[in-house]
């Protein structure tokens, strides 16, 4: 258990066209998260975001009245960074290099640069070359990379694409009851999932998460200071990053069997070890759902069920997952909105509250170097 806690969450509206700059979104989310804590901008002395974020820490600080910074850090690998931003913050406050750290992510991912459009070329860096092996053959969108894993997963366990449908239906059922969700009031049936058009076979439109304009921020401080603030502390019981042997970014085709998520396995082993908990101790799991198959693979890597059994587990409803509606249903905020939902579950304030939720697992983007958190009630 770390001696750090999340003490504030704040977000903008989740839209398809914010009409504002990404910096304006980041600043609004940070102001909202600070207001949630009762702390002033001047109390903040650390900031963490994604390497992909276009709003530097210092720009957000200038726009929100945050003064001197003693700690600033960025995490790489797209959505895999989400939980690692909180890990960075927890490390900083427990090491004593910062007192109050803000983690944020904001973008106009729908109205601006859409990840789903794919890549057409890359500079010849190590990353560019790694991604570049697929480009001349037309394998160049996130959905296409995920689909290569998904096909292998179905093959390994003799499954049909209906197992992916259970994830979409579950997320949208929760989103339908969440006023902040883009798909509020719009649940989905398995038949609608099965009827949606192919994007990159075996993935359909409804297997791919939406694209969103918006921002989300979180505030982390020491557990001791957290206990003096207006909200009950949400303790960071464990935080971990993970990269597997032979790790790639979305193109992990070459080592082992691509029907699994070895980087998630690394995070799982670390989180269980550091928290002393296991799958049976988790009340809610917020699992990064950029593409439905990855939710099933994460459940299996964390040991909530056996290999190939994720679809059945989701269909059974015995483990509440993605109670905000997930990124499929609420918003695609690179996983940061999932951490906020974990906080709400522990606080008891989720719109889809699981009674007595005391321990929540939150994960970050998978198929890339990833991260995870176990959040817990204080005491």
């Amino acid at each position: 258990m770390t001696a750090a806690a999340i003490v504030g969450i704040g977000a903008t509206a989740f839209t398809k066209d914010s009409g504002r700059s990404e910096l304006a979104l980041a600043a609004e989310a940070v102001r909202a998260a600070l207001a949630d804590t009762g702390l002033a901008p001047g109390d903040v002395d650390g900031m963490v975001t994604f390497t992909m974020d276009t709003s530097p820490e210092i720009a957000v600080a200038r726009a929100t009245g945050i003064g001197e910074l003693a700690f600033f850090s960025r995490v790489h690998y797209g959505g895999g960074a989400a939980c690692a931003t909180v890990q960075q913050a927890a490390l900083a406050v427990t090491a004593g290099v910062a007192d109050v750290v803000v983690c944020y992510r904001a973008f106009n991912e729908r109205s601006g640069r859409r990840f789903g459009a794919g890549v057409r070329g890359r500079e010849p860096s190590a990353e560019g070359v790694a991604l570049g092996w697929g480009l001349p053959f037309g394998l160049l969108t996130p959905a296409s990379w995920a689909a290569m894993h998904a096909r292998r997963y179905l093959h390994m366990y003799g499954l049909t694409t209906e197992v992916f449908g259970h994830v979409a239906v579950t997320d949208r059922r929760y989103a339908a009851r969440n006023p902040a969700a883009y798909f509020h009031g719009r649940p989905l049936t398995l038949a609608e999932h099965a009827a949606s058009r192919w994007i990159a076979e075996p993935l359909r439109l409804l297997d791919c998460c939406q694209e969103t304009d918006g921002g989300q921020a979180l505030v982390v401080t020491s557990l001791a200071r957290a206990r003096t603030l207006r909200r009950p502390p949400v303790v960071i019981a464990a935080a971990a990053q993970g990269a597997a042997r032979g790790q790639e970014q979305m193109t992990g085709f070459y080592e082992g069997d691509p029907g699994g998520l070895p980087e998630t396995g690394v995070v799982a082993r670390r989180l269980w070890r550091d928290s002393g908990l296991g799958p049976a101790d988790v009340d809610v799991a917020v699992l990064y759902d950029h593409f439905t198959p990855y939710v099933l693979m994460q459940l299996e890597e964390f040991g909530f069920c056996g290999p190939g059994e994720g679809g059945g587990l989701v269909a059974s409803g015995t483990l509440p997952i993605n109670t905000h509606g997930g990124q499929l249903g609420e918003a695609y905020l690179h996983g940061m909105n999932g951490i906020a939902e974990g906080v709400r579950q522990v606080r008891g304030t989720s719109v889809n509250q699981v009674p007595g939720a005391g321990r929540v697992l939150v994960t970050a983007g998978s198929g890339v170097p990833t991260s995870g958190l176990i959040l817990a009630a204080d005491g």
Partner: protein, 305 residues
């Protein structure tokens, strides 16, 4: 004009007349009914309607639109409002038209000798929509069709007026280029000479792909290039549908090929319909030219399964 401005102008036509006081060119007649039934391959109606008398036939209800069509000379009797709407769309580049669907309600049978009159209203003009044909606006008209002055049917007709999407054959020269630097240039030089080269660690002997300047197994920077046999199997695959990619016509198949040497690579799967690809299918190397770039691709063999 912005999209929003155009949409607002188009919406203003909703509820306005498209045709006022239209008249069928001929009364309902037996010859037209016979022609229509023969063309459709359906039996003709009884020559006599019970209770009405001999020599009077009932037209099949689905012929409703036949009696109001204006023939090859072009539409007549359209209102100025409808013509303005079409002109507005023409100026916005929506110069093509296609009928998309039609709904009909039948209130009273049409019989030979009935005189047809009709009025049509512009029921709706959609916001801008993008379809496979192109981007444009759906116009729905609602026509009330009368027989001898009595309402006989309602004909709701929808057309798409659109700017045609550019359609042309994908040119392989437009495909995304390989990403090449000093670490993998040797691979692409091999491809240019129609050789598929993988790396072999000269310290531990492990063969590897993709190309890297060091061994993932033992860490050695020493390696040599060895030519792969070009034989392999489909280890996984994707059939790409969306979004459109320059140089490719969807759907197209991309395979994760496991070579006989034990390494895997991404490549195009050719020679087999995407729906027939299976994991485990044997494949063999070929080279294709995409513009000035040679590419290694794999031909799949169904009989090998």
């Amino acid at each position: 004009m912005t999209v929003a401005d155009l949409s607002a102008q188009l919406t203003a036509y909703e509820g306005r007349s498209a045709v006022l006081g239209g008249r069928g060119r001929d009364p309902v007649d037996a010859a037209m009914i016979r022609h229509w039934c023969e063309a459709m391959g359906v039996p003709g109606p009884d020559p006599a309607v019970p209770g009405v008398g001999p020599g009077v036939a009932e037209a099949p209800p689905a012929m409703l639109q036949v009696w109001i069509m204006s023939g090859l000379s072009g539409a007549v009797g359209r209102t100025a409002a409808y013509e303005e709407l079409v002109a507005l769309l023409d100026r916005a580049g929506c110069t093509a038209v296609v009928a998309t669907d039609c709904e009909q309600e039948y209130l009273r049978p049409l019989r030979t000798g009935d005189e047809i009159t009709f009025d049509a209203v512009i029921e709706s003009v959609s916001p801008r929509k993008t379809t496979a044909l192109g981007t444009g606006h759906f116009i729905t008209t609602r026509t009330e069709i009368r027989a001898n002055g009595e309402l006989a049917g309602i004909h709701r007709f929808r057309v798409l007026r659109y700017a045609p999407a550019r359609t042309r054959t994908a040119s392989p020269a437009e495909r995304p280029r390989p990403v090449i630097n000093r670490d993998n240039a040797g691979f692409w030089e091999g491809v240019a000479g129609h050789r598929l080269l993988i790396q072999r660690c000269t310290a531990c002997g492990r063969q590897r792909f993709p190309w890297l300047p060091g061994c993932g197994e033992c860490g050695s920077p020493l390696w040599e290039a060895v030519e792969a046999s070009g034989e392999g199997v489909v280890f996984s695959y994707v059939v790409m549908h969306h979004p459109p990619v320059p140089g490719f016509e969807a759907p197209y198949a991309v395979g994760l090929i496991e070579l006989a040497e034990g390494v895997r690579m991404i490549s195009s799967l050719v020679g087999v319909a995407p729906a027939r690809i299976r994991i485990g299918m044997p494949v063999a190397l070929e080279f294709v030219r995409a513009g000035d770039q040679e590419l290694p691709v794999f031909r799949a063999y169904e009989e090998g399964l």
